[in-house]
């Protein structure tokens, strides 16, 4: 195949005039970098809208409010820590603060470990608290399928399959579905997911897409999504991540004299240390900031 010549022979004989801009003319100055035409679809970074800071509400713990500024509305906040590190105490304080603000709250209790007496001592208003207790559903005595051939069933699914499916539905799966329903319903001031006693391997199996979906669901709403867990589960979806640990437990010591009888001992409370691991609410990155507070044992 022959290729076309790049320059025709007729054009070569004629001189080609090339316009060379005069650097000193005002026209060139107009073509300076400061007058670069805007590219279509690209907005200058300086014109990007500043996302407004979320409204902060009290967590019920003065030290945490001082550390983090409170709990952000429309965001996911996570508090993680081992057993006896004060997580449930913070949960109750947040519930008490929210119900005292007359907000409707929901607690998705995966392990069914919520203690009403502790909640009453903390000042939680039960009228405004929806408690969802996940777990294995108890079947009624006797099968609901009295006469399999005359059942009222929906579509082509049999009742047996549905019951079998419910029996093996794990609490974590129930909790994810319930949380979806609560967030879609809207109107809740505080939604808490309690993963405190959930085994680690089950908690880690919650897909990141679920956390992302929850975070998107509460965005631009007034709902505070609060997660209690042993280890960070929501990862980057959490706008606020607080780690708590139990400091030297007050009122007892391993070196306590054995002569002191047990009936003379008393658990006063817990000493808790909180560390702010992540906060997306500030422009400048936040370094590791800690705070400490104590809890008191109070009988309901």
């Amino acid at each position: 195949m022959s290729s076309l010549p790049l320059i025709s022979t007729a054009a070569v004989s004629r001189p080609i005039a090339i316009a060379v801009p005069d650097w000193s003319t005002p026209d060139f100055k107009r073509l300076s970098l400061f007058a670069t035409p805007k590219l279509a679809g690209v907005t200058s970074a300086s014109r990007l809208e500043v996302r407004p800071s979320p409204q902060m509400v009290s967590s019920g713990v003065r030290e945490i409010d001082t550390l983090t500024g409170g709990l952000p509305r429309g965001c996911l906040t996570e508090v993680c820590g081992p057993a006896s590190s004060g997580r449930a105490s913070i949960l109750l304080a947040a519930l008490a603060a929210a119900t005292q603000r007359q907000e409707v709250c929901a607690l998705v209790d995966i392990s069914d470990s919520f203690n009403p007496l502790s909640a009453a001592a903390a000042g939680v208003d039960f009228e405004r608290l929806l408690w969802v207790r996940c777990g294995v559903r108890l079947q009624k005595s006797g099968s609901p399928q009295r006469h399999p051939s005359t059942l009222l069933r929906e579509g082509s699914d049999t009742k047996k399959k549905e019951n079998a499916h419910r029996q093996i539905e794990k609490p974590v799966e129930q909790a994810l579905r319930v949380t979806d329903l609560l967030l879609q319903s809207g109107g809740f001031g505080l939604v808490i997911i309690d993963l405190g006693d959930t085994p680690l391997k089950m908690a880690r199996r919650i897909p990141l897409t679920s956390w992302f979906r929850f975070q998107r669901a509460v965005e631009h709403t007034g709902t505070v999504l609060f997660v209690i867990s042993q280890v960070p589960c929501a990862q980057t979806c959490a706008s606020l991540l607080l780690k708590v640990s139990g400091k030297k437990l007050s009122a007892f010591s391993c070196q306590l004299s054995q002569e002191t009888p047990t009936h003379a001992q008393l658990l006063d409370g817990l000493q808790i240390q909180g560390e702010l691991l992540r906060s997306r609410l500030e422009r400048k990155p936040v370094g590791s900031v800690t705070t400490a507070f104590t809890t008191k044992v109070r009988t309901g």
Binding site: M56, T66, S85, L129, C134, L138, G142, K159, L182
Partner: protein
């Protein structure tokens, strides 16, 4: 004074077509009696043109092509009659129940409200049509003329005052006889022999001669024909019963067609409630099951070949609602969770009427879930976790462990800001203010700088909140005064964890738990025991010793509550302090 009359022609047919609108385009005949002696009781215009007449047997009708049969349903006729009353009472409070298919209304004083009389008549017809009934409406100066015109003329008729005799003259004499009583039949035959076919003929007869031959009954009929009667309405105050019934031709076994029928019934009920400016917060569903099946939540199934089984469900909603789609969804979720377990042959749906709620959200009150959405959400959550696993708490007056019960979640409306509510404000304004929503009188304020959120009836007292090491200029923080100490929470293990405890010198030294190895270990510290007991006068008394223990675990020291059941003798871990 103007009066209106609503008349439903072929009322037994219309009552059936109201719940099965697809029958309106077909030729429908209503049969009465027991098989095989069923006879035609009523028919629509299409069937009449096809040659069906009252009294024909079923075998005779079957020779006519395209005729659809339905058995007469007294319950549906009652429901249609109640619907007609609701329709009339949505316009006028003075309503007379003349017959099951005829309602009279007093329109006095309604023209400034609804417009001129022809407009009111058209609105009546339209409202009845929306409720599923095809009606004839007539307006006249006296109730009897209006009733005759509604029965005689189809569509909407307005008879001007003074023109009654002229307008009624073209009607047949049969229209005077609403019920075919024996004396009415004799009078009709007499008029027929005299050649009296139209009302104008009857009106033209001489009064004296007529009374001599047929008595006062004839005079009364002549006055009716002339439109010269005058009487007052006998108002009716029917009981507010909102109930819809439908009997099925064949048993239903699937939820989808049942939901379709329930939706139709709910739509009718909600329309009737709306006509009376009412709402409901209780639905009662009664299903009649196929012969021989008894479905009861509390009893085992019993076979009874001679009786119909019954299945009842009652839905109670905390707030009055009027959205039939929400009711339908709630019923669907409930039936899915509690299926009747047998084919359905009859459906009865009733609602309890209540005043609708007049809720107006405050501008400065925290948002709450919408009642309709909340009910659906709760029903869906109950379908996931169980009815007894979702709701709000109620503490019982007992020291027994787990002394609480679950109840229906019904949050109360927020009452306004509490007096100890504190808030900081945006940058540029003086921080903090204490808002007392209960103080409606303006007080002398010490505030030098006014807050952009000043309410008209409240003053703000400046109060500084010490915030350490935080920049709060662009942030609103609502702080409850956390003057109460943080309470140590106890997480409960449900069910409690059985453990084996090694006692040393009278105190627990070690716990062993094969199922939860993370909880076993050496007990570093113990406090207790605290002894408690109760309900010893009941059959289920309890007695226990409680210990607070610290156990060295893998991740650190964990605090538990250890309990010894003194009656059963077992050791359990009741919960952990967290």
């Amino acid at each position: 004074m103007p009066f209106a009359c609503i008349f439903v022609p072929d009322f037994p047919v219309e009552s059936l077509v109201r719940v099965e609108p697809e029958l309106r385009s077909q030729s429908l005949a209503v049969l009465e009696g027991k098989a095989p002696l069923q006879k035609v009781f009523a028919m629509d215009e299409n069937a009449r043109r096809a040659g069906v007449s009252p009294g024909m047997s079923k075998l005779q009708i079957e020779a006519c092509a395209g005729i659809v049969f339905r058995a007469r349903s007294l319950s549906q006729e009652a429901a249609a009659h109640a619907t007609l009353l609701d329709c009339a009472q949505s316009f006028s409070p003075r309503v007379e129940d003349l017959d099951c298919d005829t309602i009279l209304l007093d329109l006095a004083g309604l023209q400034p409200l609804f417009g001129p009389l022809p407009k009111i008549a058209r609105a009546l017809a339209r409202r009845a049509s929306d409720l599923g009934l095809k009606t004839s409406v007539a307006v006249a100066g006296n109730p009897d003329t209006a009733a005759l015109a509604a029965r005689g003329f189809s569509g909407v008729t307005v008879i001007p005052e003074g023109k009654e005799a002229e307008q009624l003259g073209s009607l047949a004499v049969e229209v005077l006889f609403g019920n075919l009583a024996q004396d009415s039949v004799q009078l009709l035959e007499t008029f027929s022999r005299w050649g009296i076919r139209k009302l104008r003929d009857l009106a033209a007869l001489p009064d004296v001669a007529l009374s001599e031959r047929v008595g006062q009954a004839g005079i009364h009929l002549q006055k009716l024909a002339r439109g010269a009667t005058s009487r007052t309405l006998v108002p009716v105050e029917p009981a507010l019963v909102f109930e819809e019934v439908i009997e099925l031709e064949y048993p239903l076994v699937l939820l989808e067609p049942l939901a379709f029928l329930l939706g139709r019934l709910l739509e009718q009920l909600c329309a009737r409630l709306e006509a009376r400016a009412l709402a409901t917060q209780e639905l009662r569903l009664d299903l009649e099951l196929q012969n021989g099946y008894q479905s009861d939540e509390s009893a085992e199934p019993a076979f009874s070949p001679s009786s119909h089984g019954r299945f009842s469900r009652t839905l109670r909603i905390p707030v009055p609602l009027l959205d039939w789609r929400t009711f339908l969804k709630l019923l669907q979720l409930d039936l899915k969770a509690h299926p009747p377990g047998a084919p359905i042959v009859k459906i009865r749906l009733a609602v309890e009427p209540v005043r609708p709620r007049a809720a107006q959200s405050g501008l400065f009150l925290p948002p709450t879930p919408e009642p309709e959405k909340l009910e659906l959400t709760l029903a869906r959550i109950a379908g996931i976790v169980g009815d007894d696993k979702v709701g709000s708490l109620e503490l019982l007056d007992t020291y027994r462990p787990e002394g609480f019960r679950m109840r229906r979640f019904a949050p109360s409306e927020p009452q306004g800001l509490k007096p100890f509510y504190k808030s900081t404000v945006n940058a540029g304004l003086k921080p903090c203010s204490t808002v007392d929503a209960r103080n409606s009188n303006a007080r002398n304020s010490n505030a030098r700088n006014s807050n952009a959120r000043n309410l008209n009836t409240q003053k703000l007292d400046a109060q500084n909140i010490d915030v350490q090491n935080r920049d709060v200029q662009n942030r609103d923080v609502q702080n409850i005064d956390a003057h109460c100490d943080l309470v140590t929470a106890l997480r409960i293990f449900r069910p409690p964890v059985d453990v084996t405890v090694t006692i040393q010198d009278g105190r627990p030294a070690r716990i062993t738990c094969p199922k939860r190895k993370e909880m076993q270990g050496e007990i570093l510290w113990a406090a207790g025991p605290w002894r408690s007991s109760g309900d010893w006068w009941e059959q289920e008394g309890w007695a226990r010793d409680e210990w607070d223990i610290a156990v060295q675990g893998e991740t650190g020291i964990a605090l538990y509550r250890l309990v010894r059941d003194r009656i059963g003798g077992r050791w359990i871990l009741e919960g952990s302090y967290d």
